[in-house]
Each structure stands twice: as C-alpha cells, then as structure tokens.
C-alpha cells in the first residue's frame, strides 16, 4: 500500500476505558490495541451501551483512560499542551450547539482558537482555512445564517466545518448522523470519506447505521456488549459472521447476502413468488414485511404469487387455497393480503 497508510495518527496500547466513580472503576472495555491511520475513515459500531461514546471521549482526551497509553503522532497524549493538542485532534460531539445570536461563520471561526491570539482575531490564513472548511462540507452560503435557523443537516455540516477549521489530522465524530434523514446521512458519510482520503486525515465516526458503515468505511471497529473490540475490513466482518454474533438476537437475523439485518417473527405461512426483476424483488420484501416466509418452491405455500408484465403494466396473480385473484398494483395486493384472515388458515 501507499506509505501514507502506515502513518499512525492516533494509537492506543493496552487501553482500558470506563468510568471511575468514587474510586470504583467500572470498566467498559479493556486491553484495546488501536491505531487510526492517515487517510483512513473508520466507523465505530456497537450495540447501545457498549461504550462507543466512552471510547470516543477517551480517545479525545475528555475522559481519562483507566489504564494504558494513548499517543498522538508518537507523543504521549497527556504530555501535549491543550492548545497544541487542539491542533492535532478535533471532535464533533452530540452536544447541542448554541442557538442564540450566533452565525455559522462565528461558530466555524471558533475552530481557529488554537491558532489565534488572545482576542481571537482572524488573519488571512485563518480566513482562508475557514472558507476552505465551509467548502469542504458543502456549506458555502450558510456563513451569515444564524445557527438556530439551520436544519439539522446543515447544523451538522457546520459542526464538522468547525472541527475542520482546527486543521487537525485526527477527527473524532460521535454519532454525527443520528438525527439526519437518509439522503443527508449518505451525503455526510461521503463527504467524510472524501476528506479522510484527500487530506490524509484519520477519521473515526461512531454510528448505529450499519448499512452506511459497511458501504463507506475503510475499516470497522466493533465494540461488543462484552467489551471486546473487533477490527477489520467491512467485507471481512460481514463474511465472517461477526455482525451476526454481535448484533443478532432472537428477533433479528443477519442476512449475510444483503449485508443487513431483518426481523424474523417466526413466519408460519409461506409464500412463493414467481417472477423476475425489480417488481418481484419488492413483492418479496412486501411479503416478508407482512410476516410471510419466502418459499423456494410452491409446495406447502399458503400463497402463490405470479408477477408478470402485461401490455398496460405489471399484474400480480395470486392463488391461495384454491382462490385466484388478480391485482394491478402492489398497493392493491398488500391491502388484499392484509384484509384476509390468515390466522384461520394457518390453523388448518
């Protein structure tokens, strides 16, 4: 690989993280060996309460580790002056931004604090970096807007621009996509991956969004409920069944082929779908959602559906218990299935 990939921006050796309340240590995860490399976009996954935020806060220096060593570019983390450290590591937290009387530009300009003088005046290079940060997240034109008037997605971009203004090689983001809609999430993830690659930054992002993490991350870190940290390439972890072990429970199945979880409410009725193309795929999904198991053959199927094209569009021909019905839209089909009393038939 390129030599840049070997540059380790942030390393942790034998790290134990957790809380210390009144001298009582509660360990969340221990013996972690981590390295965040230059030009790498890493997603941190894990069930709720496994310690994603604790790890992010510990790596950011906001919470002391219970034991172990943290290094930023070969310097021991705690020996670095706060101002110097702020030039090496930046964070995007879940904390709410101030909403009153602050425009986006002033917020992003706060990211220049590690460089500016005691009054916080901005020189030419500060202004250039701020403009660059706005452009990097695609937030040009928002400069004069008040933070309170921005949408959640815009606010998150501004928050990331603020961290970018710090010109640090490491950026840690704690669930930045949590309140965003899907297109905004995809956009943000793609911006972040591009930044990591282009600027040779080490980016660590915690998220619940498994699907997006699989698509965008260069590597994944997964914290398990038992406090283990599993690292690997997304595809590797998907193939090895790691996701199934960490996240699946009695109501969820890991679908290794699709790279997603699905619910399995123990279907007792089977449906067989005959047909090809997009319409057949989505018909299959509709039936799964309605609680049917998908049968490979039409024997023992309570429902046999034929999806076929006619000259005016697509039709669904349904056979069940000797009845034959035809539907001209998927909505009609779904309504029909929901109106039928399947519980009676399953007893038969």
């Amino acid at each position: 690989m390129t030599p840049a990939l070997q540059t380790k921006h942030l390393t942790a050796t034998n790290l134990s993280i957790g809380y210390s309340v009144k001298g009582q240590n509660t360990c969340v995860a221990e013996k972690l060996e981590l390295a965040l490399n230059a030009g790498e976009f890493v997603c941190l996954l894990g069930p709720n309460g496994a310690g994603k935020s604790t790890l992010i806060r510990t790596l950011a220096g906001m919470q002391a580790p219970l034991s172990g060593a943290l290094k930023l570019q070969d310097q021991s983390f705690h020996s670095i002056e706060p101002r110097e450290r702020a030039r090496m590591i930046s964070v995007v937290l879940t904390e709410a931004l101030p909403l009153g009387m602050m425009d986006a530009y002033s917020l992003v300009a706060l990211g220049r604090h590690p460089y500016s003088g005691w009054l916080g005046g901005l020189n030419h290079s500060d202004k250039a970096r701020i403009a660059w940060a706005f452009a990097a997240v695609g937030a040009q034109g928002l400069e004069a807007r008040q933070i309170g008037e921005l949408s959640d997605g815009e606010r998150q971009k501004i928050s990331i621009a603020r961290a970018l203004a710090q010109e640090a090689k490491v950026m840690l983001l704690d669930e930045p996509t949590a309140f965003l809609d899907l297109p905004r999430r995809v956009e943000l993830m793609s911006i972040l991956r591009t930044l990591a690659h282009r600027e040779q930054m080490g980016l660590l992002l915690s998220t619940h969004d498994l699907d997006l993490a699989l698509r965008f991350a260069d590597r994944l870190w997964i914290i398990t409920a038992e406090g283990q940290l599993i690292q690997g390439y997304p595809e590797q972890l998907a193939m090895s069944g790691t996701f199934a072990r960490v996240f699946a429970n009695e109501n969820l199945d890991w679908d290794a082929e699709r790279g997603a979880f699905r619910t399995h409410p123990h279907p007792c009725l089977k449906a067989h779908i005959n047909g090809e193309g997009l319409y057949a795929i989505w018909t299959r999904r509709a039936l799964e959602r309605l609680g049917f198991g998908i049968a490979e053959s039409d024997e023992k199927s309570a429902l046999r559906i034929q999806v076929f094209d006619t000259h005016d569009g697509t039709e669904w021909s349904v056979a069940s218990n000797g009845n034959q019905t035809t539907h001209t839209s998927i909505g009609q089909l779904i309504d029909w299935i929901r109106d039928e009393d399947w519980s009676v038939r399953s007893e038969r």
Binding site: G61, P82, V91, L93, P98, L110
Partner: protein, 353 residues
Amino acid sequence: MSTAVPTYPPRRSALLFCALGFALLLLAGLSACIGSTPLSLEVVLKALVGAPDIDPVLQQIVIDFRLPRILTSILAGAALATAGLMMQTIFRNPLADPFVLGVNSGASLGVAIVLLALAPTGLSLTAGLGLSGQIFLILASTGGAAATLFTVLVLSRKVDIMSVLIIGLMISYTVGALVSILMYFSMAERLQSFLSWSFGDYGNVSWAQMRAFAPAIIAALAISLLFVKPLDALLLGERYAESVGTRTQRARITILLAASVLAGTVTGFCGPIGFLGIAAPHLSRYLFHTSCHRVLIPASILVGALLSLSSDFIARGPGLDVSLPLNAITALIGAPVIIAALIKQRNLKRLFG
C-alpha cells in the same frame, strides 16, 4: 443566482460603538447639569476645568457630588453588565445575573457581617470608612458574592437550566433570611442605613470611596477582557471548549472570580441593584447581533453604563423634590427588556446556548 457572501466581522459594530459612546457622553452631560440645583453646561465645564471665576459652591456641587455620582453610575452599570454577561455564558443560562443567582444577596451577607462587626466602633455603612475599611468592605462583599457564585456553580452541574434559576432564588432567600437575622441583632440606626443601602444608591461613593471602588472594578473589567476567547469557546459547552484548547477549569474559576469582584464591589458600595446584569447583555446581543465576547464585553460595558446612568437620572426625579429607590427604576427598565427578549425567542433555550 449568486449571493454575495457578507464580510466578517460585520461592519456595523464600529458605528454602533460610536453611537453608544456619544449617547453616554450626552447623558453624562445631562446628568451633570440637571439636579436639585440646575446648572448650565457652561458652569459645569468651568467647574470641571477649575476656571477662576466659578462660584466655589457650584464647583463643589459639580466636582464633589455630581461627578463621583456619574462615575459611580457608569462603573456600576459596566460592572453589573459584564458580570451578568460572563455569568450567562458560564452557566449557559440567559437569565443568569448577579441578582437572579443570589450573588447580590451573598454580597449583602458579607456587608451585613462587616456592619455588625464594625458596629461597636460607631462607623456608618460606607461614609467614614478609611481606605483599609473600604478594601475590607470590598473583600467582604466579594467574598460573599464568590461564595454564592461557586455554590450555584457546583449545584448547577447537577441540574437543568431552569433549576439553576430556582436554586439561585432559594439561595437568595436563604441568605436574605440570614441577613434579616443579623439585622435583628443590629442597632436601630444601622437598620436605617442598611435599609437605605438595600434600595440601591449611587450617592454613597464619594472621592474617598472611589479610591477603592474604581480600581477594583477597572481591574476586574480588564481581567474579563483577557478571557474573551475562553468565554467564546465556553458558549459551545465545556467539552467543545476543551477540544479547541481552552483550559476550562482555570478559565471558569478566574471568570467567576472577576464576576464576583464586579458584582460584590458594586453591591458593597451601592446596594443590591437588580436587572442591569440581565438587561444590558441582552440589549447588546440584540443590537450587535453576535455572541462573540470580543464585541459583547465592550458593548455590555457601554450599554450597562447607559442603562445605569439613565436609571439614576430618572431615580433622582428631575423636576421633583424626591429621590426614588434606584432598584425600582432598574426593575422598571430591565424587566420589560427581559420579557421582550423571551417573547421574541419564545423559548428560554433558544435565547442562548
């Protein structure tokens, strides 16, 4: 369609600062002229420069009564506004101010203790205290203010934005109760002097007191200007502030100590004066459309001085023979400002961090 990106920082600030400075000068001039003995501007200027043909009585009125009073108003207003601004940022609470959080009461307790301790020597509240006595008064009221402020700070970390205000109120009541108990054991003439002090009055500070009053306030204001950047960073909350290199612990303690000196000194010399500490920073934010402390601290100093001077001007009742309680006037000016700010933003949290 291309939208022009506005320049930063916005250019209107300079003009506004000039306007505020001019208004302050105008009001100071007016205050010097109008009073129980109306004077012309010419007489006032002559008195100030010490022209040989000036009536010594008139000169004494200007130099020994009106000038210290005007300076006291300006300094007290600037001090309370800056203390309020810093407290609002540190507590991330738009309604924090020395009065609301009980800091004035804490200072009163300090003053009451001094009063009781000094009572046997027969000294009145501020008049007649030597410089060391005044420094002692500043220390006592600042100590009382700081004790309250740090109590609120410790408690505020456990509760939400509204509860902090209620805690402040409860501390006020508690300390107020202690003060009443102290007063109960005090002599009658002390009670009278304490009561008039509690209405708020800028007339207590003569040139002798000014030697302690002005340096304390100017020093604390200068310190607050050193913390412009940490204050800005703290708007984002403690964690973000740390992430941009702020030593938050050190900054917070120094800022609150400066706020204690500001609020404590004013309370010690002029009585507990309410509402200026909230109203002035809000007006400044509204006028300058920013929350950058580099702009807000000087703006609050000017706006606070203006509000304070106008309150005193009204309290002295031009054209009337009476002098109204200063506290009543600041409340009449300050409370509507706060209500207007709340209604405009509809929500306490939206108003400010």
